[in-house]
């Protein structure tokens, strides 16, 4: 059976793929990660995670159009699959339910 749990980094990457939509390819995702979290990440690390998410079935990918800035090379655009969508929602629900049970929340919510 395939591993279907989401790690934290994986979850963020998955969300970023969703945010970037048509622009979701490794370099852009890495850039977005840096600007959103303030932490730097190599393209290789991002790519390897994307590759892993594909094998888990959370993402699908296809080659896009070549552009001049890439020296005429095509890029691989990732899109979230239905399973990926479900995994994200499940993860979010788990968190929400946990936050709701967290007593400190009511104290500091003011």
């Amino acid at each position: 059976m395939k591993e279907t749990r989401l790690g934290e980094f994986e979850e963020i990457i998955l969300l970023l793929v969703g945010i970037l939509e048509d622009d979701a390819y490794a370099f852009k995702i890495a850039e977005e990660f840096e600007s959103q979290t303030g932490k730097s990440v190599s393209i290789g690390a991002t790519h390897s995670t994307l590759d892993r998410l594909c094998t888990k079935g959370f993402l699908s990918s296809e080659l896009g159009k070549p552009t001049a800035v890439r020296g005429g090379r095509r890029k691989r655009i990732y899109t979230i699959s239905a399973t990926g969508q479900r995994a994200l929602i499940a993860s979010k629900e788990l968190r929400t339910s946990l936050w709701n049970q967290y007593p400190a929340l009511t104290k500091f919510a003011l």
């Binding site: 370099f27 790519h47 890439r70 020296g71 095509r74 890029k75």
Partner: protein, 910 residues
Amino acid sequence: MVDKKHIPPKLAKRLLNWFVRDDLAEEILGDLEEKFHEVEKRKSPFRAKLDYWYQVFHYLRPFAMGKSRFNISLNYGMHQSNFKIGYRNLARNKWYSLLNIGGLAMGMGVCLVICQYVHFELNHDKFHNDFQNTYRIIVDKTQNGVNKGAGPNTTYALGEKALDEIPGVEHYVRFYASEYDGIVGNPLNNRIFTEEGADLAFADSAFLTTFNFPLKQGDKASALNGINNIVITERMARKYFGTDDPMGKTLKINGGSSSGICTVTGVLERLPLNSHLQFEFLRPLENLWELGNGGSVNRYGGWAREWFGTYLFINEDVAPEAVCQRLDQLILTNKAKWNDPENVVDKTRLQAIADIHLRSDSFTIPDYVNNKGDIQNVRIFLVIAIFILIIAWVNYINLSTARSFQRSKEVGVRKSIGALRGQLIHQFLTESILVNLMAAFLAMGMALITIPFLGNYMAIELGFDLFSMPHFWSAFFTLVLLGSLFSGLYPAFVLSSFRPMGMLGGNGKKWAGNINFRKGLIAFQFLTSLLLIAGTYLIYDQIVFMKSQELGMEMEKILVLKGPKIITKGPKVTDGTDMNQIRAYQAYSRSTFKAFKGQVTVHPSISRVTGSYSLPGKINYMTEPNIRKFGEPGNKGNHGRIVLAGLDFLSTYGLELIAGSPFTEDMAEEKFVIINEEAVHHFGFGSPQNAIQEKLMSDGPIVTVVGVVKNFHWDSLREPHVPYLFSYGESGAPYISFKIDLSDIPETLAHIKTTYDSFYPGNPFEHFFLEDDFNQQYRADIQFGNLFLAFTILAILIACIGLFALVSFSASLKIKEIGIRKVLGAGTREIMLLLSREYLVLLSIAAVFAIPLILFFGAYWLESYAFRTNIGWDLFAIPVLVLFVISLLTTSHRTYSTAKANPVKSLRSE
């Protein structure tokens, strides 16, 4: 053209292209290029390039790597096949495999054995619990700013004071090995033997609790608490008590710095051989200064006599240098009374206990440690080990490439059915690892067998402790693997570079690799062999030289009897500090000795008899630091060695008197001296004649010079001539020397024994011939020489295997040429010469390189000998000749059979 600045680094790109999976290359390169431009825009082209490299390295991940690049090494089936083929190849050529594996195994075995030896030498005294923080105090003496030597002897009080006043000193232990032999006896069963002074030791009662010498019987904490307690070794327990329990029994000791009856309170297990402290009997130090002849130590408050080895245990947070400074101050304030008038300054340093064994060589003041090692020998052996290992691998390279001819067909077939070059290299490397591993296991077996013999021969305890350490084995096998890779790489590349067409066409010799490379390797082997042979020759030459040197004294036909310690009749000395008692005792023992001498020389085969306190070859003379002409200030003194010797000493030992006269009977003991030429020179007398009737002084009594003898070699020729003073004194001499006629030794001995027993009842009769004893001091040199010889023979043997391979190889390459030459009328002799010429050239090249190396290292080694043989032309000529003959013998069979072969056979085969 695009500006070079604005494109990503080419090399990084190429690297990425090499390792990355083909289907990913396009998108990755695209992403990286985009990133590059992005960074370039925001920062600088340089930062962009740097970042590009960073990104490329971050793509070194399993998912992105090309399967075809990295999968060969993971292919189990291919491995299995490689191993199988390697094994079959070895099994097919048994003779070749034997040479190859045997040579390698021998090299590795020697390496293992030497490693164990070096490990033993380097690990002395590390079995003590706190050895890192244990130090021995060494004192460097200077007088008027002139270095007067260093030694481990300190005063009694230094350790005590250091503990009280220096922060960081946690405790101290003092040790004293007696300078005098003693007679030890068990009164119950009358087992009486003379024991060497060095074995009769004294120490603080904390000795057993601080050092890690396990007790078999007795209690560590209390064993040395009573003044008459004695702790003995297991060996002594057997010697004196047999199978009886020695605990609580008594031993009677005469001499050995303190006489008396002692109670055995502990039995030590056998002392580890890697301990610098070696003794058989241990008594508390209080015994020495209360009951023995350490009384003067007590009288002067413990700052006058430098007799004791002091060990300090220092808190690890404190720097030893800081402790030394405080020690120097302690000496400065407390020892001023003795040091100042003579302008002597003592500087201390701390010697780590683990350094004592190998790094105590330079002390000019005698040390009580008598199993010192030599760091130089350890280094030399280590270098030999490395050389032998390299020779063995060089050999492997030679043998494997030499066989390339035979294997060219195999390679051809493999290549023509589609083997890649990388796969072939892989195959040959696997074979190399296989051979090396087999050799390594064989070497382990060899080492296990040889090490006990070596330990036995060198009288050291060579255990297998190195071999029980896992990290040694991991290092060893890493080395073996690295070695097999390096030695396998060259043959693998040569073999895999063959072109299939040429090889299958039977014309393979053209692709036999770079013959010059292999010639270089053989020349290197020749060079190493030459160096080793020259080393062996030089060592033996030096030993022969030392043995044949005119010693200035005769040691043949001298029988030595260990002198009496027990004198039953006559006046007793009850207080070691009462001079009247001592004088009465001395007068009595002198007259007894005179009567003994008179009676023993009645025998016709005994020509001379003399008593002395030391013997040639022994270092138990007294060293007096401050001898000078009478009347000269104390700071003008010089070192000198004093030997108490009796009447007829000069004539017994054949010392040649060049001025003055020998001792006469009417002289008072310890008042008259006979000195050697070196002393005449050192003390400033000008000429031997001028020295006669002059007076010398030191801290002891003033003495008058009555005679001067020629210089002589008292001990090993390692050291230069030193001033010697024979001081007249024979009462109670520990050695009695007889110049005898060797015609009927048993009869002469019987006569001496009956006379001795009637004069000195109750003393053991122990004797030896001086010559044997004297030659003992060259034992270490001879041992070193023999080991060197053994390693040399091994190295040459291994090199011969390589040479044999080279000659076989070149013979097989030239087989057609030889055939044609023979058809055209060449004789066997010419052919043999043709085949031999090749390595003779290599030998002469090696000889040319060897000469400066031999000169340099030979001179370096000889430096440690004050009297040394000359380095002559024979040192170069003999090794070359030896190697020439050995090479000729190795190759002659091969060259002869090649030269004799029928040319028709070789010419017809195609």
